[in-house]
Amino acid sequence: MQVIKFGKAAALVVAFGVVVGCSSKGGDTSGAVDPNAGYGAGSNGAGMDNGMNSEEAALRAITTFYFEYDSSELKPEAMRALDVHAKDLKSAGNRVVLEGHTDERGTREYNMALGERRAASVQRYLVLQGVSPAQLELVSYGEEKPAAMGSTEEAMAQNRRVELRK
């Protein structure tokens, strides 16, 4: 739920960024969502006043990546966000945790393996972008930590995910 909201907020931020053309300082809050980003009020004249930068901030705000049922294949939108995270990770050299999750269908231990497969798929992508494997810790929670409760298609779609945690 929250993540979806983040996504919407991010989209708004991008829209504002493009239309108003105001500045934002990407990268300064280590990936946390800055609700004021793109509104220009807090600009301290550091330059780089362009829409690209705001889009990057919006992508940086995306830290949850969703998957199709029984799949560990990355979606294109996840890749775009991961490109930004890869850039950050390479420059900062910090360590992050990739948490793999599944929906409730299937057995718990099999889902534990499936969650790891998803986290590994994100890891592989980041490593291909030049991130050191030592910066990436994989933890699968399988179906044990659902983001949304319930057995609806919508809830299950939100639970099939990898979360990037600092």
């Binding site: 409730e104 299937g106 057995t107 718990r108 231990e109 099999y110 534990m112 790891e116 044990e144």
Partner: protein, 433 residues
Amino acid sequence: MKRLTHVLVGLVALCFTQLLLAQGAIEITRGTDKATPIAVVPFGWQGSAPLPEDMADITANDLRNSGMFAPIPRGNMLSYPTRDSEINARDWRMIGADYVVVGQVSATGADAFSLTYSLYNVVREQVVLARSISGTRTQLRDIAHHLSDEVFKELTGIQGAFNTKLLYVAAERFSVDNTRYTLQRSDYDGARAVTLLQSREPILSPSYSPDGERIAYVSFESRRPEIYIHYIRTGRRERISSFEGLNGAPSWSPDGTRLAFVLSRDGNPEIYVMDLASKQLRRVTNHFAIDTEPTWMGNDTLVFTSDRGGRPQIYKQNLSSGNTERLTFVGNYNANAKLSVDGRTMVMVHRQEGYRNFQIATQDLERGNLRVLTETSLDESPTVSPNGVMLIYATRQQGRGVLMLVSTNGRARSVIPTQFNDLRVPSWSPYLP
């Protein structure tokens, strides 16, 4: 006087049933048919205060849970004898009882109780068993389960498994990031739950050692999965596996000397066996697919789930020869296999081709035929009683996890009563001393 009481009981029978349900007695969701009708008559008790446990009711529930007996409701009984000399065979023939269990409880000391009971064959008009069982006040449930075991053994020839325990995990979710997980140990029927472990992080896959004294489980308490062995009596814990990646699905060898589990330290989930004395690890599977949920078939063969064929199916691998064989061919999802003690029947999570439901099915390992046992839809984690007569599995009802008990003959079904909102991963103990 007895008759009078009976009439009253008969009148309030409906209310009484309601009351029992409200108090958390086993909820019957499906009746039994063709099971042997047996009457477990309320036991006599002369004490001033009522006993804390309705022992005859516990025994009747036990027998019903086996799917082999149909206990006669108290409201239908025409008399309430408490010793075999008081039994009038005609009373029981009239209501169709094949057997009658009568008994009386007496206090034999400050905290000592004794149940003297008789099992009566109505057709032959003959006492077939007359014994007494004693214990303390806190053991009244044990006495009742013990009685069930003796009656069950006498009438079926099968060792009873009513004096066994159940492990499961209860989850209480307060918010997205705040859930309390507890490892519970209760009687097999859900009564007398005791918390063995509490954590803010998931606890998974508890499994009883064959001697009934230790438990292996996965705990995320350090925010990553680790396998522990927990000594029930002392509460001492030993962390035995904490490798990078998955540490999961622990399963004890029947001789209790080894533990099979899953590690992904080599890149993807593989099955390993640890010798518990030397802590030496041996890798069993070697495949780029997911290999998980090992369970033992004797001391030299592992049965496990693998998606090496594209979909999760059950395989077995001999530890000495390394020979691997696929066991399931029906359905597009077969996982989490458990074997009956005689090794002839496999129980597993099964999804039929073209269906969305995950159900519990049994497969005869000699003939290969498969039978779907459950009627619910997100069924998982089957665990079989040590005598193979009953099984318990986890499923979902109105969005919460519940444990269901079914007899393997399919006749008895009930929800295990609990004070918790969300239950999962049941594990049945072996026979306990």
